[in-house]
Symmetry: C2
Subunit: 333 residues, 2 copies
């Protein structure tokens, strides 16, 4: 999947700021890719971008209309269809992270078949893949792994990419989930591929390279999440990481959505990931820990990072509050 | 998937005995489900079953025509189509383990849409699934795991089912791969589901039960196979096994098809599986080891089983040569 940029971000008539998290992520990490925003009502959430009609955005060079919102059912609302179909007719590509596929909308499929638009359903994957091999590939790779889902693996990967690039070290974020794909304009939702091809998909996302220094691969799930651990293990093997960064939310009580499922300790998570990662890279090591400390006040968070850093012998930080420089320090020596 | 039995086994015009391995497995493990065989030529491999025309099989109550052969491309040969379409027209269901889907053959799809036949492409899976939860389920479960692919996990599971049942302990084989599904007439190819649903698929294959004593779940792949380990981990979590049986081929030099990928030791495989399995069942334990010793003469094989049995503190056997009674002894106390 390779989604053309720049984007016009479509916010529909969404009024809940949380529902526009994906769009906000795109603006945060790829501001240069965001030409403007299109809202259907005055009440709609704003990202602070220039308001544009389809016409204006087209004139200024926008390539893709991106649905950067989520809703409970994942269904594309009927009152958005006019805008989407008009955009496709004008030659915009359309990208969506909704469950319902754009390709289920006959008018859009028809325009896509005529070559007038391209549809990107980033939550799904239909292309052919190869089975993974675990063969050693050229280039250095960092993967973010976690104690659970939704603990900051994408954010940490993007922050590390940005930090390395700002130090003059050429690093490229590699997306493995829908939000990451919309942000970067490419990648594969590894949880959406057929199970036999998980590691193969990651080998395709991050192939042999000598054009830059690091691939920073977005992790998914956790080896300890009983719903999704298979995805995490295939991703770990396919990434064959040289460096791992552990992500964790301070104060989480149990595996997300599963009150009966115990959260692993940081030590358990480190050990399990090292053991498994050695299958495809004997030299793998952890280079840091990224915490989501939003449940703590800042001074407590700082203390905790120092304490755990000493106990685990690794740089520990909250990437939102304190950045990731202590981790990228370790990648630049 | 629930495939009606008894079967008429279709061998097409296959002359290589290895290509009829699936059909042979069905005859070996479910002889009562095999009414007869249908061969297109006199040279075709025979399973030693009664030769039947479609007409004869239908009259005797056959429900499903099973394509029990494999070929290199996985494509259904054109000269088989007449037989398949005639069978569907007569009301046979059709089951196939080929890569090419029966549902890609328009004549068959048309008859299926009319309700005249049902098509079972056991290598594929299109039904809706739920995400796994890891919640504790009723009933006892045994899972076969391996150092690699193709080391006897299905055979061992079927042998253990048979041994338990012959001792009056009610056990049910649960299929997770295409051959197992054709043998048992039900199951899900877990490597064919969308990656997010691996453990959920296994939870569906082996739900809560109090109707019998053991579910004997067929394992897939290996935690150490860099192509397929994600499937193996999701399967392990979804199975939440009480008992594990380790399968291994003596003399294998490296991971199948991957000369660069090292085979794990038995001890490594045991440790990695126990660690991972505890995520959904704290009480999991290994109850035995099944070896494929076909590279050794029988006396050497016997010695090796005794030696490794002492070293690992578990019953070690070759299920083909020595049966699995030493293992099922441990399940009946």
């Amino acid at each position: 999947m390779r989604i053309s940029q720049p984007y016009l971000l479509f916010l529909g008539d969404v009024t809940d700021p949380l529902s526009a998290k994906t769009a906000r992520g795109i603006v945060q990490w790829r501001p240069e890719a965001c030409l403007g925003q299109l809202r259907l009502t005055a009440d709609t959430v704003s990202l602070g971008l220039s308001e544009m009609t389809l016409q204006q955005a087209k004139q200024q060079g926008a390539k893709t209309l991106v649905i950067g919102t989520a809703n409970a059912g994942g269904v594309i609302p009927r009152n958005w269809l006019d805008t989407l179909i008009s955009a496709a007719n004008m030659g915009f590509d359309i990208a969506s992270g909704m469950h319902q596929r754009l390709s289920e909308i006959p008018e859009l499929t028809e325009l896509a078949n005529l070559g007038i638009t391209h549809l990107f359903d980033v939550r799904h994957y239909n292309e052919r893949l190869c089975v993974g091999t675990g063969k050693k590939r050229q280039g250095m790779r960092l993967l973010t792994v976690g104690t659970d889902c939704s603990v900051g693996k994408m954010f940490s990967a993007l922050a590390i990419e940005q930090s390395l690039n700002s130090r003059g070290i050429n690093a490229r974020f590699k997306a493995t989930g829908q939000t990451g794909i919309l942000i970067d304009g490419q990648g594969i939702s590894v949880d959406a591929v057929v199970a036999d091809f998980i590691s193969g998909a990651v080998e395709q996302i991050s192939p042999d390279f000598d054009t830059h220094q690091w691939d920073i691969i977005e992790g998914q799930g956790s080896l300890f999440n009983p719903s999704f651990a298979g995805v995490s293990l295939g991703l770990l093997h396919g990434a064959q990481p040289d460096a791992l960064v552990l992500c964790h939310e301070v104060g989480r009580q149990h595996i997300r959505n599963l009150p009966h499922a115990q959260l692993p300790t940081l030590e358990q998570t480190i050990q399990a990931n090292l053991l498994a990662a050695r299958v495809t890279n004997a030299n793998v090591q952890f280079v840091g820990i990224c915490l989501n400390t939003s449940s703590l006040i800042e001074s407590e968070a700082k203390q905790l990072c120092v304490k755990w850093g000493k106990e685990l012998g690794l740089p520990v930080t909250d990437p939102v509050r304190f950045g990731v420089e202590t981790i990228t320090d370790k990648l630049t020596v």
